[in-house]
């Protein structure tokens, strides 16, 4: 039983063309970290918005962790899905980081003990410890992004969706993101990362879905995702830098640094 499933989903924006060609998008995701990659306009963000009900399909079924999305309001979906948008400024409004992070679990009416635990854990995991009382708008963009991520995690959702989390993040921040994502995955959560950053995909996401022109072109282990050059080109993807290097020196395909070093040493 997959944890997220989309069955023949069709969707078009008002006056726009079909995002997913006939017979519609069919995809199943299981727990763990999955990268969703593909060219600009491939339908990645549309897919994530369908998962939480911000967009409604014209036809097809979407199930997320046992919930029929079509029968659930967005606000109710938020109990199950923690969603982080690209632009944190679309959501930040509280006077302190802590209040901001607490907002989600509070409006979802979670028990006070759970709120406290969730908020504390989220703040710590996002490197915001010591900044609880800072005004979010006094932080830089990169840290505001972390506040938004913490806000999504504070409700302890079983599904986490991150839209371009590495954008504009420096190396230490990317490392933290990698650790966070991998930990969430090992806790059995479903983590979906929309990204163009293939190095990050190789390092942090065991599963990859390649979406191109609205169709799923690959869904499976990341280690095999970068084999088909023609597909990569079509989907606007460049393989991770390690993969390029491995290929250049005739090693078998590697997608992350640890793998590369292990293979090379042999």
């Amino acid at each position: 039983m997959p944890d997220i499933s989309l069955e023949k989903v069709l969707f078009s924006y008002p006056g726009g063309v079909e995002v997913y060609p006939e017979p519609g998008l069919t995809l199943a995701l299981e727990s763990g970290v999955t990268a969703l990659v593909g060219e600009n306009g491939a339908g990645k963000t549309t897919l994530t918005k369908l998962l939480i009900g911000l967009l409604r399909p014209r036809s097809g079924d979407i199930n997320v962790a046992g919930l029929d999305v079509s029968k659930t309001t967005v606000a109710a979906m938020a109990k199950t899905v923690g969603y982080t948008f690209q632009n944190p400024d679309d959501q930040l409004f509280e006077r302190t980081v802590k209040a901001e992070v607490t907002f989600g679990p509070r409006v979802l009416k979670r028990p006070p003990a759970d709120v406290e635990r969730g908020v504390a854990a989220a703040i710590k995991a996002c490197g915001l410890a010591g900044k609880e009382d800072v005004h979010p708008h006094d932080l830089g963009l990169s840290e505001r992004k972390w506040v938004a991520i913490a806000s999504a995690l504070a409700s302890e959702p079983s599904v986490v969706v991150l839209d371009e989390p590495t954008l504009g993040q420096d190396y230490p921040s990317r490392q933290r993101l990698r650790e966070l994502v991998m930990r969430l995955g090992s806790e059995g959560k479903i983590v979906l990362v929309v990204t163009h950053d293939m190095d990050f995909v190789g390092e942090a996401c065991p599963t990859t879905v390649v979406l191109s022109h609205g169709a799923v072109r690959y869904a499976g282990p990341t280690s095999n995702a970068f084999g088909d050059r023609a597909l990569l080109k079509e989907a606007g993807i460049e393989p991770p830098h390690v993969t390029e290097l491995a290929q250049a020196i005739g090693l078998r395909q590697c997608v992350n640094e640890a793998e590369f070093l292990a293979t090379w040493r042999r």
Binding site: Y13, P14, G15, G16, K49, I52, L54, T73, V74, A75, M77, A78, K79, V81, Y83, F85, N87, D89, D90, Q91, L92, F93, F103, G104, V107, L108, H137, S151, A152, S155
Partner: protein, 259 residues
């Protein structure tokens, strides 16, 4: 789809091709005249001209949608209130039991409703056939300062921009569990989380906009280049002057006792 918020509809009709100033002068004078001319027949004549132009412009269907949504309720309300309750009422038109409907009220309501119809139709006709950018460009070619031109242009863009931003903010907050629909108390609670990011983002956007203008050289003392020429003609120039003069002429005529 923020751009879809502009009412303009692509087309190649006579009205689409007319000089923006001609359309602007026409719209303003027709509205003024509809409120100045004294009798129902004159207003009907104006309404008829507008109707023909609507058909010529090929926007009849869209206009009917507007009329049904906006004008019909107003007309019904006016006809009911005036016909039953205008103080000038004394000629009975018909009676339903004890409730009497009067001719005077009907006449007054019809005039008022037709005037409002002319106002709405003329305005929509203008919006359907004229790009907002064209009217500011035309005004700038007639000496409106670029700074004022920018103010007008950006003001026209503020609504779609703000709606765009508001939509994103609403999406973000709903995704955190905020109910934005439903009972009044629920919606009241959603007010701050929706408004504060909007206000802050708008402030930031305004500041950024000011920066964008600087780095793009807005305000350099250069001779303004015409972005494009609007086809004008002697007929259009005469029409503009005639329409513009018709308004004071009608006012004078009314003052002299035109009934």
């Amino acid at each position: 789809m923020a751009g879809g918020l502009s009412l303009y509809q692509e087309g190649a009709s006579l009205l689409h091709r007319a000089h923006p100033l001609t359309k602007g002068v026409f719209t303003l004078s027709v509205i003024a005249l509809a409120f100045i001319v004294p009798s129902l027949y004159w207003i009907l004549a104006i309404a008829l001209i507008l109707l023909i132009l609507v058909i010529v412009a090929g926007v009849l269907r869209r206009l009917i949608a507007v009329a049904l949504a906006l004008l019909l309720p107003i007309a019904v309300l006016l006809l009911a209130v005036q016909g039953f309750a205008n103080p000038a009422n004394h000629t009975v038109l018909f009676a339903i039991g004890p409730v009497v409907y009067y001719t005077e009220g009907l006449y007054i309501a019809a005039i008022a409703a037709l005037r409002i119809t002319c106002l709405v139709v003329a305005t929509f006709l203008f919006s359907f056939t004229t790009r907002p950018a064209d009217i500011t460009e035309a005004l700038m070619q007639r000496g409106l300062s670029p700074a004022m031109g920018y103010v007008v242009q950006s003001a026209l863009q503020i609504i779609p921009q703000t709606l765009d931003m508001a939509g994103r903010i609403q999406d973000a907050q709903r995704s955190r569990g905020l109910e934005t629909e439903g009972s009044l108390p629920k919606r009241a609670r959603a007010y701050l989380p929706l408004m504060l990011p909007l206000v802050l983002s708008s402030l930031v956007a305004t500041q950024e906009r000011a920066m964008a203008l600087e780095v793009r050289g807005f305000g350099l003392p250069v001779k303004r280049v015409r972005r494009y020429e609007f086809a004008d003609s002697a007929v259009q120039r005469v029409t503009r002057w005639a329409l513009a003069l018709a308004v004071p002429a009608a006012i004078v005529a009314r003052l002299l006792g035109w009934k």
